[in-house]
Symmetry: C2
Subunit: 379 residues, 2 copies
């Protein structure tokens, strides 16, 4: 029998104690008992976001919370910059267009990071631009965009910085208040070690007056409604009670372990995996700012990325991800974030070695495992 | 120690086998293995909906799927009738207003059912009316609206019938195709015996061309996007994998047991509870069409409904629901749907007797339990 090993950049493995916490008998979401749970969830989110502002919880995928960051800030015809460096950057553009806003695209080649100077120039040219939408980690390429610098640029203008941090929240540090991020979107199924189903949105002080002026229609994703309710520790609509049970357990684990250690170990796994990749003679698809949360490996010529993914799933029950759109077949992606240990990473390295070997790539079997062990051993 | 006993009209108790099914290790939502699971979920939904049409799954609360039934059918300024007989009827109105449509209200006093003739008259007067929005069960009052008759009325006009069946799907029979319901919304946390987090929307053949003409903005809740994806057994966005695990287990249970038996036993529990209520000398708040899914009990004068709710929760760990808005304090609500047995109902009856007694209501202790047992014993 195969063990399911989840090493895709979301969903990530859920610790058994969290799965069991979610298997507790449900209570009613309007009962006072649930308010205490809601409060703990809010406190935990503020810890991870490093913010004093409200972080709202939605029952939705991350895309729902992204949509909330459009419909609660803009009005029809409003101009907004979006960074398009991959599949998820594209999604900001689709959202802006779907709601009749004017998207100004900063097109970045896949595998590269946005240049803050380009945003600064656009903002200087046109002070009517309302916001800049960007990914902290573009999941499709493994690239981190320079969020801290973009925040600095936005604070010199009228524009808000809206960051999609779904795929790296709790994997890499994103101190919302210290960096001056105005709005930050997160999801449950990545480094927060939960199943998919919850999304989060932190709303900073510069975003609140903008929200009040927004005239795009909204109901389920209305921030105003949720802020009023969630400040009183309840959702405007039925909360996903079981996920809340799991989430307070996750925050307990993160607190006990310490966020610094979580970030350091995520980075260590990424370094170890990177050393293996180098030993194979392969390169990261991310030419700039590769994220520690996941590595997108560029396949050797003649090897199909999808075949590597299939090999791992079919032969070993290991789930990694392939490439999307223009990167399809050219890369495979392995996560280092969340409930993953050095031995999970070594297992990934080992499985990939066997797959590459089986698919006919010429390299020294075992060289990647040795290189990764070397990094872990030095820690 | 108290046992948690959930007898509120959602969330309802989740069977332990379902909780454990949801506690399985996650797999990747884009892996071929997940497509088989998605297919089973689609088949199960079609069984419960009694439809050949597509039933979409959303990660959201029921309100999200309600919103989808507005933004995918209407355009700005469109006229739509909504039946307002309680808290959830009101929500249709709020949704229509939030999206700049023209809501035509059929106001029904709380505790009463809509009159189909009123809808027929409005539709005859104005053929530009696009849809009629109604609840199958108005959860706040325990009243069933006459969905079958309303469907007949709508089919004689251009208007679609959109039914919010969140709180009674799988508790009372709602054969979408046989009755000619155009759109029907459901949720996971009621008679489908799952935690909150998933919502469903069945889309009949008359709704599809209307959807194509709709110009309200949408993205996360776009039917078009989801129909394309879900027909290929995947979500447009990340699916709530664990909930899907639970849902296929629920459908297995429902299939093994048989839907007819599920409906019959729900009705039996409601009759038994009703007999107890009568023995206490109390009345249903639903003056017309009381639903078998839940009973809203009108409190005797001098007894606060909220006090009954608190008594049960505080002394026995039993969660029932109070009244909302104008019914607050005047009623308490007990569910009969989902994973509830005759002994759960008897426990509710017994606990309410002790609460009413403790709060000073004068009646024969045990009379309700005896009356309910009588009904169960005759079955």
């Amino acid at each position: 029998m195969k063990k399911v090993t989840l090493l895709s950049p979301g969903p990530t493995p859920v610790p058994q104690r969290v799965l069991l916490a979610m298997a507790q008998p449900l209570i009613h979401h309007r009962a006072p008992d649930f308010a205490g749970i809601f409060q703990k969830v809010r406190d935990g989110l503020k810890m991870v976001y490093e913010t004093k502002s409200e972080v709202l919880v939605y029952s939705s995928s991350g895309t729902g919370a992204m949509e909330s960051a459009v419909v609660n800030l803009l009005s029809p015809g409003d101009k907004a910059i979006f960074v398009n460096g991959g599949k998820f950057g594209e999604r900001w553009g689709s959202l802006l267009r779907a709601y009749g806003c004017q998207p100004l695209e900063i097109k970045v080649p896949w595998g590269y990071a946005a240049d803050p100077a380009q945003a600064a120039a656009l903002l200087a040219q046109d002070p009517s631009i309302k916001a800049v939408y960007v990914q902290a980690l573009e999941t499709s390429t493994g690239v981190e965009h320079p969020v801290e610098e973009l925040a600095r640029v936005c604070r010199k203008s009228n524009a808000l910085l809206v960051v999609d941090a779904v795929s790296c929240l709790a994997a890499t540090r994103l101190p919302m208040d210290a960096w001056g991020i105005d709005v930050m979107v997160g999801g449950s199924q990545k480094a927060l070690m939960l199943p998919p189903g919850l999304a989060f949105v932190g709303i900073g002080p510069r975003a609140l007056p903008v929200m009040k002026e927004s005239r795009l229609p909204k109901f389920y994703f209305s921030w105003d409604k949720e802020i009023k309710n969630q400040r009183e520790n309840k959702g405007a609509f039925t909360s996903a009670v079981s996920m809340f049970f799991g989430l307070i357990d996750v925050f307990e684990m993160l607190r006990e372990y310490g966020m610094d250690k979580v970030y350091a170990e995520t980075a260590l796994r990424a370094r170890a995996f990177g050393a293996a990749m180098e030993a194979w003679g392969l390169k990261s698809y991310a030419r700039q700012n590769p994220s520690p949360a996941l590595t997108a490996v560029e396949c050797p010529s003649g090897i199909d990325g999808e075949a590597v993914v299939k090999w791992l799933r079919g032969k070993y029950g290991i789930f990694i991800a392939g490439g999307q759109d223009e990167a399809k077949g050219r890369i495979f992606r392995v996560a280092h974030m969340g409930y993953i240990t050095e031995f999970d990473t070594l297992q990934a390295v080992s499985a990939i070695e066997m797959a590459l070997h089986g698919l006919g790539y010429d390299f020294n079997m075992g060289s990647g495992v040795a290189a990764a062990q070397q990094v872990f051993g030095e820690d």
